[in-house]
């Protein structure tokens, strides 16, 4: 548009100039007689002159408009490239949680893309009560130190309330003068970096050269950058916090795990020591006990002369108590040996029914005495099991003994055998006094005896069930108990099928 207009005006000028020259030439040659004609020409000439001047005035308007247009375009171009740079920056920092990476984005080319020549980012170091300069473009170390010093002395950050556009050619108030002296720039912007109402620091960017005077648009750009830096720093802070607490948690878990492992290790050691102690003590006890029993039976047998009835009664008590003691020692010893793997299970194919019959036979007198109704139920065609016959006998006598012990007269005891997958499950059920719920879990613990009437009357070692459990486990079987207080108890255990 302007070009065409310019061309038109240009043409008019050329034509006009030619006419003027011609008119002058003509005027030179006029005579008095031509006065009238001259006046006419003068009028035409004045008209042309006027038109010529008017056109020049129009040219001035065009130039002014063009100047305006060019300035606007430059501003726009600058704003566009700044916006693009800011966009790239915000993309880059949104994906980083690393302070150093964030700062590395603000480099020389970024500062110049934003239209600045020098720039500096200053952060307040709360703990050290000083300032750090993570980014400095165009400032020497010396200048940076000077800036830090001045900032500390003059509390510039405290006084800085809002983004400022500073130009040395304008009238300046106190704070602006300070800033001007601090940053040695001719035209620059200063923007505080504020996150959650806390001033983290400030960013300064500007030019040393008068011809690149900054505008409000530059201040806006730097303000956007400042808020992006603030949110970037906030992100980094949150991430670091999260990371630290996560680290802390992991450390604590690791510490606890280590402590637990140590405690566990200690417990194992103690347990081993206990087993060794029990085993050693049992051995030491067995020898003298055998002697005691031997001498007592010699005395009872009258081989060393007749024994008075009263003495015999006492001797028999010695014998009976010694037997109990031997049993206790044997159980302890067996438990310790099975636990330490010293007792090898001699596994063989066994018919469960034979084993049960054998036990029922042994226990028959006691059951008869208490008038207990005993039943056996074995699934037909059940396979043989794989077990050590002596140890299985111990398990069955122990469990049957307990059942009889805790079942009142005229009670019921039943044994059921069934196959579950690769195992045979044997349930021994009684209609006895049952076990309190809170005690069920403890019955397999060594030396634990349930608190009930029967146990108060009848003595026991508290070693029977732990031994049974060890034997079953040594067969790779499981043992458990279900019970209802006052109604009865069922002990169940499994053995591998042959």
């Amino acid at each position: 548009m302007i070009a065409t207009l310019t061309l038109n005006i240009g043409t008019v000028f050329i034509v006009t100039s030619a006419l003027i020259v011609a008119a002058f030439g003509y005027l030179v040659g006029i005579t008095e007689r031509q006065k009238k004609a001259r006046e006419n020409l003068q009028r035409s000439l004045d008209k042309l002159k006027k038109a010529y001047n008017e056109l020049d005035e129009q040219a001035k308007i065009i130039v002014k408009k063009d100047l305006e247009l060019n300035k606007t375009q430059e501003e726009l171009d600058k704003k566009l490239s700044s916006l693009y740079a800011l966009h790239k920056f915000s993309q880059a920092i949104s994906s980083t949680f690393d302070r150093e990476k964030l700062f590395s984005q603000i480099d020389k080319s970024f500062i110049s893309e934003l239209g600045f020549y020098r720039g500096v980012l200053i952060l307040a170091d709360r703990e050290a009560k000083g300032f750090s300069i993570p980014v400095a473009v165009g400032y020497s170390r010396q200048e940076q130190e000077k800036i830090k010093k001045r900032l500390s002395e003059k509390d510039i950050l405290g006084k800085l309330k809002q983004p400022l556009l500073i130009d040395e050619s304008h009238l300046l108030d106190e704070i602006k003068k300070e800033l001007l002296q601090t940053f040695s720039l001719v035209s620059f912007c200063v923007v505080p970096i504020i996150s959650q109402e806390a001033k983290l620091g400030l960013i300064v960017a500007g030019n040393e050269l008068a011809y690149t005077r900054l505008t409000e648009a530059d201040l806006e750009m730097l303000s956007i950058l400042a808020s992006q830096i603030a949110s970037g720093l906030e992100n980094v802070r949150l991430y670091e916090e999260l990371w630290h607490s996560h680290q802390d948690l992991e450390q604590r878990v690791a510490q606890r795990t280590k402590e637990l492992a140590l405690a566990n290790e200690k417990l194992k050691k103690i347990d081993k020591l206990k087993s060794e102690f029990v085993s050693a003590v049992s051995h030491e006890l067995r020898t003298p006990l055998t002697s005691i029993k031997g001498y007592a039976s010699i005395l009872t047998g009258g081989k060393l002369g007749a024994v008075p009835a009263q003495a015999k009664e006492r001797l028999e008590k010695i014998n009976k108590h010694s037997d109990a003691l031997v049993k206790l020692v044997n159980d302890l010893l067996d438990g310790a040996r099975i636990e330490s793997g010293k007792v090898e299970m001699k596994l063989e194919k066994l018919n469960v029914k034979d084993a049960l019959d054998w036990v029922a036979d042994i226990m028959a007198p006691q059951m008869k005495e208490k008038k207990i109704e005993f039943t056996q139920e074995i699934t037909k065609g059940i396979p043989e099991c794989l077990a050590d016959s002596i140890q299985l006998g111990r398990v069955l006598t122990n469990l049957m003994g307990n059942a009889i012990k805790f079942t009142p007269e005229k009670g019921k005891i039943s044994i059921k055998v069934k196959q579950i997958k690769d195992f045979l499950q044997i349930d021994i059920r009684d209609s006895g006094i049952g076990i309190a719920e809170d005690e069920i879990a403890k019955v397999f613990e060594e030396f634990y005896r349930a608190d009930n009437e029967v146990n108060q009357k009848v003595k026991g070692t508290g070693l029977g069930l732990p031994l049974v459990k060890r034997i079953v486990q040594a067969h790779k079987g499981k043992i458990w108990v279900t019970s209802t207080l006052g109604k009865g108890t069922t002990f169940s255990f499994t053995l591998p099928k042959a």
Partner: protein, 396 residues
């Protein structure tokens, strides 16, 4: 004849690394590191010595000729804050270089010295003299006159005045491993090659014609009997106030003064890069006292059209011989007018020439090229706002 060519640029902020990187790219393209000539254009943002050291670290013995600029041009297009290098290795073409110092004291003598040094090397077929003078010292037209006194008034003088990224403070000229200012460096093109030159600006005159009533060399003191600056104040109105304190160059480069010259289609342009406190206008070359000048104005289409015409002229001058390399001297004012679409001008030139030939160039503070009209017999002049397209082709 065999000619191998390479063009490289680098935007690496480290000067040594940038020089090394760009020179490395040149070697890679030319498949070798021996060159008869390295033409280097670079931003003043680089430490100039370190930059040259970087180039030398790759191309040890190649003669370097070049200058600082206000934006670089290469086959890759228009860049800034960069270095652009073209390396030429030719068995048939000859490149003899010259240097003239002290432009501010005697521009004509410096031009003579530069041309004499380049011309003494080897007689033979000569095609053109490329000059790269400091764009901020001396009268650019006097430099050309000096060279013409040695090479002949009709000998084609082509070139661009060194820039400094619009700072208008100091420009540099490269001569071997020397970095100089206030100087002119030159390359005399000879041997079995051909050269096609095109120049055009695309600015139009606007408003009245004004007479330069007082001028000394490149300083216009009075126009129409008044302070020279007043001319701009008349046309710019309120904006004129900004002219005095902000550097003049920002606006002066877009609205230069034009002198009508007989038989030429376009005006011969002079822009002022500085206004003195006394209201005088300092130009890149002389505006003789008594000249009639008019304010000039441009638009984007006109600027792009001019580039097309300049490229076409250069291509036509080669009369169908294939192009080996292209050198561009492009006025900063054009870049300013085009703004964000500055890249398009380079594209227009490439498209007009037909193929993306190896290309190097820079944004200048002044251009040198012959006038077209026959009555000037190929005499070269100093220009502003112009784009000079110089195509180096195969032998005739």
């Amino acid at each position: 004849m065999s000619t191998s060519l390479g063009v490289g640029i680098s935007e690496n902020p480290d000067p040594f690394a940038a020089g090394k990187q760009a020179a490395g790219a040149v070697c890679e393209q030319a498949q070798g590191n021996y060159f008869n000539l390295l033409i280097v254009f670079a931003s003043v943002k680089f430490d100039q010595q370190a930059l040259i050291r970087g180039i030398k670290s790759v191309c040890h013995n190649a003669p370097i000729i070049g200058c600082s600029s206000a934006g670089e041009i290469s086959t890759a297009g228009s860049t800034k804050d960069s270095v652009a290098i073209m390396g030429i290795n030719s068995s048939s073409a000859t490149f003899s270089t010259g240097l003239g110092c002290g432009l501010s004291q005697d521009a004509r003598a410096a031009g003579q010295r530069c041309a004499r040094e380049a011309a003494k090397a080897r007689p033979g077929k000569r095609h053109a003299f490329i000059i790269l003078p400091d764009g901020l010292s001396g009268n650019g037209a006097e430099i050309i006159r000096g060279t013409q006194e040695v090479l002949g008034t009709s000998f084609p003088i082509v070139g661009g005045s060194a820039g400094d990224d619009y700072l208008f403070q100091k420009t540099y000229q490269y001569y071997g491993d020397k970095v100089l200012s206030d100087s002119v460096v030159g390359i005399l093109l000879g041997g079995d090659i051909s050269v096609g030159i095109g120049i055009r600006h695309g600015w139009h005159a606007i408003g009245k014609a004004h007479e330069v009533t007082q001028a000394h060399g490149n300083v216009i003191e009075r126009i129409d009997g008044e302070q020279a600056l007043k001319l701009y104040q008349d046309y710019f109105g309120r904006e004129a106030e900004n002219l005095k304190d902000s550097p003049w160059a920002k606006i002066g480069t877009i609205y230069p003064l034009g002198m009508s010259i007989p038989d030429e289609e376009e005006y011969l342009i002079r822009y002022a890069y500085k206004a003195t406190d006394t209201g005088f206008l300092v130009c890149a070359a002389e505006v003789p006292q008594g000249s009639l000048v008019r304010l000039m104005i441009a638009d984007k289409d006109g600027v792009l059209n001019a580039a097309r015409e300049a490229a076409l002229k250069a291509k036509e001058a080669l009369k169908g011989r294939s192009i080996l390399a292209v050198i561009i001297f492009d006025s900063i004012a054009r870049k300013r007018v085009l703004g964000r679409i500055a890249q398009e001008e380079i594209e227009v030139i490439k498209k007009t020439l037909g193929r993306p030939y190896p290309m190097v160039g820079f944004y200048t503070y002044g251009e040198q090229a012959p006038l077209r009209a026959e009555r000037y017999a190929g005499k070269s002049y100093f220009h502003n706002e112009a784009v000079v397209v110089m195509a180096i082709g195969e032998a005739q």
